[in-house]
């Protein structure tokens, strides 16, 4: 056993897969400790808030400030206010005055403003421009001037008598330390369509999905193993009957049965364990087939015959003389079943047949929500891409481990 383990951990593929998988598991265990709370809590009112650190505007006003004189602050501030359309308009004016702007990057506020300040002239009349348009540019130019200047902003609050009281006067060089602001929220992966913290939800969902995979894998492996052992060892009529059923369910696609059963169960009764069970019940066939063929090659070995001659019972022979020889194989089959179980849940959820939506998030449900709210069409990558990556990484790590094991136990495949 010790030797086998050492051999397994010599396989680079297995180790790589193992590290990824353990890394994911650690994330699932540690992250909820750092960021506790209900993963389905809707903290955002809007949909799809971008990833980043959110600082309470209200609190910053009353937080103590420091004065910092940063050289490019004014330009950056302007860059934040200046809209895409305004930038385009500025470039239009410049090119109307036959100034070459082809080399100019419109998103580079500094460069754009330099060219603008140098060339803009209120009295100029570019060809073909109406008075209204010229007035627009006058206003634009004026607003550029005022934004750059050091005007102070006053924040007032209505007191009990309805009078406006000045709370703070904010200058352009006032800064607060984010540490001093009592309310900030770091949303590493933003929020989803319901305003939930995507990272928190993802961690919880990955946990549920792995749980579903494990249950489904265990159910499928146990059924497949039992049927495979019995049919392979006993042969004869039992073998015929079991193989008849197995062959039928190999050809009838498992996911069709999955869809029909999940639909029949109905939305209210479909918790995560039920979905896991159904997935397990529809995916045991190839485990049964391959266990059977392994057992057939074992059943006439000398030690099995000896055991039979000694009068050992069926289950003892299966458990002590046959199972140890196919154990590695069963473990590999189990790993693959786990990974396909996770995938099956995701596909089922995308069809709208996933677990009940109100209790726990799963990777499939997150994907389903992101698609229903067109996250992929409105550029909210954080709502779906981490989910796809998580599913891929989990199943990649499991498959790597499986390939590694395969190479250890199947010397002909070794590199």
């Amino acid at each position: 056993m010790k030797n086998t383990l050492r051999q397994i951990f010599h396989s680079s593929k297995f180790v790589a897969g193992f590290i990824i998988f353990v890394g994911i598991l650690l994330l699932l265990i540690i992250y909820p400790l750092i960021n506790p709370g209900n993963p389905l809590e809707m903290i955002g009112v809007g949909t799809f808030a971008e990833p980043g650190t959110y600082v309470s505007v209200y609190d910053t006003v009353t937080t103590e400030t420091e004065t910092l004189k940063l050289p490019d602050a004014a330009v950056k501030r302007l860059g934040n206010v200046l809209k895409e359309a305004d930038r385009q308009k500025m470039a239009d004016w410049l090119s109307a005055m036959e100034i070459d702007v082809s080399g100019l990057d419109l998103s580079d506020t500094d460069a754009l403003l330099a060219v603008w300040k140098e060339n803009y002239d209120e009295t100029a009349r570019p060809a073909g421009m109406t008075k209204a348009e010229r007035n627009y540019y006058k206003r634009l130019n004026a607003s550029l001037g005022s934004l750059g200047s050091a005007g102070k902003m006053t924040v007032t609050e209505k007191d009990s008598s309805g009078e406006e009281q000045v709370v703070a006067t904010i200058g352009t060089e006032d800064y607060v330390n984010v540490k001093d602001v009592p309310n900030t929220k770091n949303l590493v992966l933003g929020t989803d369509n319901f305003g939930r913290d995507v990272l928190k939800e993802l961690v919880s969902a990955a946990g549920t999905s792995i749980f579903i995979g494990l249950i489904a894998g265990a159910v499928a492996t146990v059924i497949g193993l039992l049927l495979g052992l019995l049919s392979g060892y006993l042969g004869g009529l039992v073998d015929d009957i079991i193989m008849f059923i197995t062959n039928i369910f190999t050809v009838i696609p498992g996911f069709v049965l999955l869809i029909l059963i999940s639909y029949s169960i109905g939305q209210d009764k479909r918790g995560a364990p039920v979905v896991a069970l159904v997935i397990g019940l529809t995916s045991w066939t190839w485990t049964a087939r391959s266990v059977r063929s392994q057992v057939i090659s074992l059943r006439n070995r000398d030690h099995v015959n000896l055991s039979r001659l000694s009068g050992h019972g069926l289950f003892r022979i299966l458990a002590t003389d046959i199972l140890p020889y196919i154990a590695s194989y069963v473990v590999m089959a189990f790993i693959l079943q786990v990974s396909s179980g996770i995938l099956a849940e995701a596909q089922l959820s995308l069809l709208g047949l996933g677990p009940k939506t109100t209790e726990v998030p799963t990777l499939g449900l997150m994907m389903n929500w992101a698609m229903l709210y067109s996250a992929h069409l409105n550029g909210s990558w954080w709502a779906y891409f981490p989910v796809i990556l998580m599913i891929t990484l989990i199943s990649f790590s499991l498959n790597l481990m499986n390939t590694g094991l395969d190479q250890v136990f199947n010397p002909t495949l070794r590199d």
């Binding site: 009838i252 069709v256 029909l260 029949s264 069809l351 698609m371 992929h376 199943s395 790597l400």
Partner: protein
Amino acid sequence: MKGYRKYFGKKIIWFLITLVVAVILNFVLPRLMPNDPVAAITGKMAQGVTDASASQRIYEKYQEEFGTNKPMIEQFFIFVGNLFKGDLGTSFSQYPRKVSDILASSLGWTIALQLPAIIVGWLLGNLLGALAAYIRKGFDKVLLPMALFMSNIPAFGMAVIMLVLFAVKWKIAPTSGGYAYDMIPNFSWDFVKSVIAHYQLPFWSIVLISIGGQAVGMRSMSIYELNADYVKYARFLGIKDRKIVGYVFRNAMLPQVTGLAMSIGTMIGGALVAEIIFSYPGLGSTMFTAISGGDYPLISATTLIITLMVLVLSFLLDIIYGFIDPRVKAAQLD
């Protein structure tokens, strides 16, 4: 040819048995549903009807039409009888459209998309896998982990990534549908062009998915064969490498055909979900709308058609296998 009769006969009998079981399961499973779909459609139709006896009559009329007031066994024989007539019932959610009409319009799209995609993916994957096994060093080191990673991206995930990159970001392909939404299907050049443009993303996302898995499988099969005794013996005899490789890959191919037959159901399942992402007008999207509309005749019929598709494909693969596997040929000639 005569020797094959037994082999084919056995395969055909198996095909028929699985078909019967599939039809029974298809009939029974949706009818175990706890809520009464006829009540649901009555509720929809009888909105605003205040007279209880009137809505009762509506309910009875629909029960009559969908046949849900008869005993299960009788319903089953009616169902089978109708199947032979090509009548799959009436859709609940798109009432009064016939289920067979809805399926007729989506089946073609699915077959035209998935069959070529799976075949191309299978061929490319096997080619790459064989190359990886033959060249080994370097190539193998880069290609194998990549192929393994690719094969683990779920089909819908690949679909979403392709959609976002090519359709949303670079805008070189349409985002959804099987043809431009302002067109009516006809045989004009514009329509064909639109169909081809909409075909690309779903097609390549399915191809990319199947390449990975096939390449990994083919690589290990080829390595297994390359290490076999007959290869060593052939090398000792001084047979040219090129010739040996030909034999090796022919032998490695056989389990790949079986593998395809075994996994065709799973592959089609994944591809159907990918269809939903692209709103491709095939069976996947039909099933999606049927499920969200609680339309059980349509769900049952869609799953039946998919099962039938998978059964026919695995049957065909069995037949092909019989022709290309010399062992089957030898066994039948005895």
